[in-house]
Symmetry: C2
Subunit: 195 residues, 2 copies
């Protein structure tokens, strides 16, 4: 049932596209199936249940995000990397992926499954890819994790505010400030600012 058949994979990709466009909340099988040119019966044939489908969609979206970050050109320095990352996260296909992740994380805030579990797992891979990117852009290994935690949290928060501010100069200012802050962490002496 849950094996990786060709058809299942194709459905997962198509479903992910649809969810990236229309969001997770209120997602229901019949409209989704119609949009995909199939039937709810088929979705439940290839996926164990709705939760299985949603979990799969979240994993597909997360994989896309990570793959996109891996393709990103290295930044000249850490601050530059942050700016490049923000640009990628708000323009390319990553914008919808990021939005979906924020939505799933919010849905998992109270421990709702399958969101909480999948988000926890997805976050690990995402953070690791960010750590790798910062390192490729010159961040010392021993401070990359610390830098990424601040970076990731702020990127999430900015995404939450995006419908309010869109790409106003204020947001660009915030991204610039974030870049400085992350660079400061990367440049600090190992014990500086340590709590």
């Amino acid at each position: 049932m849950a094996q990786e058949t060709k058809r299942r994979t194709a459905l997962a990709e198509a479903a992910t596209d649809h969810v990236l466009e229309h969001g997770l909340v209120g997602l229901s099988l019949r409209p989704l199936a119609t949009a995909l040119g199939t039937s709810d019966r088929m979705l439940l044939y290839h996926f164990a249940d709705k939760d299985d489908l949603v979990a799969t969609v979240l994993r597909v979206s997360n994989d896309r995000s990570i793959r996109e970050v891996e393709k990103l050109p290295d930044g000249d320095d850490v601050a530059d990397a942050v700016r490049l990352l923000w640009h990628a996260l708000t323009t390319g296909p990553l914008e919808h992926c990021q939005r979906l992740y924020v939505e799933a994380a919010a849905l998992g805030l109270l421990g709702r499954e399958p969101y909480a579990g999948v988000v926890r797992q997805a976050n690990e891979g995402w953070v690791a890819s960010l750590v790798g990117y910062l390192r490729r852009s010159g961040c010392p290994e021993e401070r990359a994790g610390r830098a990424v935690l601040l970076l990731d949290a702020t990127l999430m928060g900015l995404h939450l505010d995006l419908p309010l501010d869109r790409d106003t100069p204020a947001v660009q200012q915030a991204v610039a400030d974030l870049a400085e802050a992350v660079a400061a962490i990367a440049a600090a002496r190992p014990d500086q600012g340590r709590v």
Copy 2:
């Protein structure tokens, strides 16, 4: 129908308590009414429809948040203020309010009403109260807005990650780094780091 009767206000407060505890997603009138010792019929008598109720709940929660920030003791400096704010947001009654706001903001990410509209309105008051708090803690007026945008976004993002990290040292490190970053903005010469 939508006038501010005593009963309506009481119901709104009680409903807010319940929503803060159980979240917005999957909220339905009958279980909510049962928990409140009334009936769905009554909720729809005092509120125009479910959206009206939800919007009211979000406003009540937001008002509580703002009132709590106004009661916060001033920080010795901006960095101290950030730390005090984080402490208040993660321990007191504000923790649930913040979580609810994050949830509502995420639900409004695709423009879903009533979330998008209410969140937009709520955000204004919230940002204003943060600006006031930073100013009371020594932040120059002309840079308070810029500082708050970064501050608010990062606080949101950290809240999104809370179920993952809880109060690990890593999160405390991130808060400390955020405090430094916000203080740096507050201390910068007016044109420094300006985009």
